[in-house]
């Protein structure tokens, strides 16, 4: 298989398999988790302003008092790479075109130089959180194979995408094929790993907010 054939495969069959597994996986996991249900709370509720599931979904995006100082790498690194991923995935013109071709949806992109810069920033932030995980005894203690693996699976699409655009290391066609392939690996891994927090985070925050909101505590 030469690079053109590889590119054709990852753009066709490969993409179909990956998207199929991704959609199946997400659907399966959502049923698996939320199908378990929960018991109704029979205690008399206490009402308090700002205490609800929905409040917590938003509120928990900000660091609670004192926490930023205790773990700056987690928060700053975390913000930069999550927002960075959002920008490069959703606002890079070629991505918008791809999504447009598949779904008919379209929106304005951001200038490619800005996206380029964001990609580099994202890569740096991801390296910082990796270094933090490797050097901080607490994080190293908690880390399992899955933590290192999912870091790699998230890092590679950004790295290969940026390198393809910059025409670095390998011919554009090859790098683009590798980029798409790495995205496909990410799509398949996401539902069945900790990366599923991309979906479950909303349910978790909501449950926490609702359970404690019942007691009148805005969490």
């Amino acid at each position: 298989m030469n690079e053109l054939q590889l590119l054709t495969w990852v753009r066709g069959t490969g993409l179909n398999i990956a998207v199929g597994l991704f959609l199946f996986g997400v659907f399966w996991r959502l049923i698996e988790i939320y199908g378990l249900g929960r018991k109704r709370d029979l205690s008399a509720p206490r009402y308090a302003q700002g205490a609800s599931g929905l409040h917590t979904v938003f509120r928990r995006s900000l660091p609670p008092p004192g926490m930023l100082a205790r773990s700056p790498a987690s928060y700053i690194g975390g913000y930069v790479f999550h927002l960075g991923l959002l920008v490069v995935v959703v606002f890079f013109a070629p991505h918008i075109k791809l999504i447009g071709d598949l779904t008919g949806l379209s929106w304005p992109g951001l200038p490619s130089r800005f996206v380029d810069f964001t990609a580099v920033l994202t890569l740096v932030a991801m390296l910082v959180v990796l270094a933090d995980r490797m050097t901080k005894p607490l994080k190293r203690f908690l880390s399992t194979f899955e933590d290192w693996f999912t870091w790699g699976v998230t890092f590679l699409p950004v790295l290969t995408g940026w390198m393809a655009v910059q025409h670095l290391l390998l011919p554009y066609t090859t790098m683009l094929a590798l980029h798409i392939l790495s995205v496909e690996v990410l799509l398949v891994v996401l539902p069945f790993s900790k990366l599923f927090h991309a979906f479950a985070v909303f349910g978790s925050r909501w449950f926490n907010g609702a359970v404690n909101g019942h007691k009148g505590v805005p969490v």
């Binding site: 399966w28 996991r29 698996e32 988790i33 939320y34 199908g35 378990l36 249900g37 929960r38 018991k39 709370d41 029979l42 205690s43 008399a44 206490r46 308090a48 205490a51 917590t56 979904v57 928990r60 995006s61 660091p63 609670p64 008092p65 004192g66 926490m67 205790r70 773990s71 987690s74 975390g78 901080k136 005894p137 607490l138 994080k139 203690f141 908690l142 880390s143 399992t144 933590d147 069945f192 900790k194 599923f196 927090h197 479950a200 985070v201 349910g203 978790s204 925050r205 909501w206 449950f207 926490n208 907010g209 359970v211 404690n212 007691k215 009148g216 505590v217 805005p218 969490v219």
Partner: protein, 422 residues
Amino acid sequence: MSASLEKGVSVLKEMIDAPIASYFSSCVHCGLCAEACLFYTETGDPKYTPIHKLEPLRRIYEQEYTLLGRLAKWTGLSKPVTDDELEDWKELVYNSCTMCGRCSLVCPVGNDIVYMVRKLREGMAVSGHAPEGIVGATQRTITVGSPMGVKLPAVKAQMKHVEDETGIPIPLDVEGAEYMVLLSSMEIMNFPEYLSAIARIMRQAGKTWTLCSTAFEATNSGIQIGVSDLAKVIVSRIVEGAERLKVRTVISPECGHAYTALRWEGANLIGRPYDFTVKHILEVLDEFRADDLIRTEGVEEGRLTFHDPCQLVRRGGVFEQPRHLMKMVAEDFVEMPDAGKFNWCCGGGGGASAIEEGEALRLKAFQRKKAQLEATGATTLVTACANCRIVLEEGLEHYQMAIPVVGLTETIADHLVEDRVA
């Protein structure tokens, strides 16, 4: 697999619901929960990371409720939970967790970690891996009637003592009283001033109240150890007593876990809503204050600060009331850093104070409270939980800090304008 382990695992399987599945599916191992836990911040030992304390429960979730986990279990690739492992986890689930819930407040993906610790304890207790100290306390509550072995005659002796001291009759088993007052055995044994304070406050407020001979004890170590069956027996006594006496409101004493047990878990344990309301004594006092039923004069000397009991504030939603009441009796009232829902635990909640072998760790963790106190420069520490109070006293003594610890209810009572009887 031993019979008890099998039972424990099956209890844990039953405990797992959508929130728990969602929480485990969201965790990214960021370790921020550790930064919120005084057992980690004061020791620096990563094994005290709250989410790590749940590892046995996580594995059971994965092996029983996820596609890949079931596949791994079926092919023998995953490690089953063993008795030895649960025994090792005892220290993490009980000694080094006071169920204070601070971790649940900081988790960036929103995991309610303490919710899961509460559930894991159910499996730990059933499989025989709960600490002696809490097992004993629970047994005594079931057989004798209270965790410290206090029986009705001891309560009656204290009633007599308070009647002699205050000249106010202490009502027992009065049908149709507005309030039924509960005590914690800590108050019966160590802090008799609580009952005396109640008698004086109720007289001034002009309210009818009663103690109940079949339900005087409020603490519920069934909740702390994690045995819902026993917790249900204990809470049912109170429900039956309150319904027999047809009271409108049951007052939970200055005890944090008693409040959680009765206010939030009780109805779920007995499987129906109550016919009466449950209030913490501070909620009742604040209502009396707002309705101008109690009036105080004079203030406490020196600088006062208030320790928020976790179960009352962060886990119970009673936040404003103690502030209002403190201002009635303190001219110089200062808040600790992190006061309110982010307050740090005394280190002895969740049954931890009953675990002898956990004492050294508890005292180490107390450094957090020590630092908070030092930041205020307070000369008196006020709280509203008899268990916090004992743990605070022990910690202060250990670190040779001469700060008296008092209950808020008795402090209010000390300043009542006694001639103003409604």
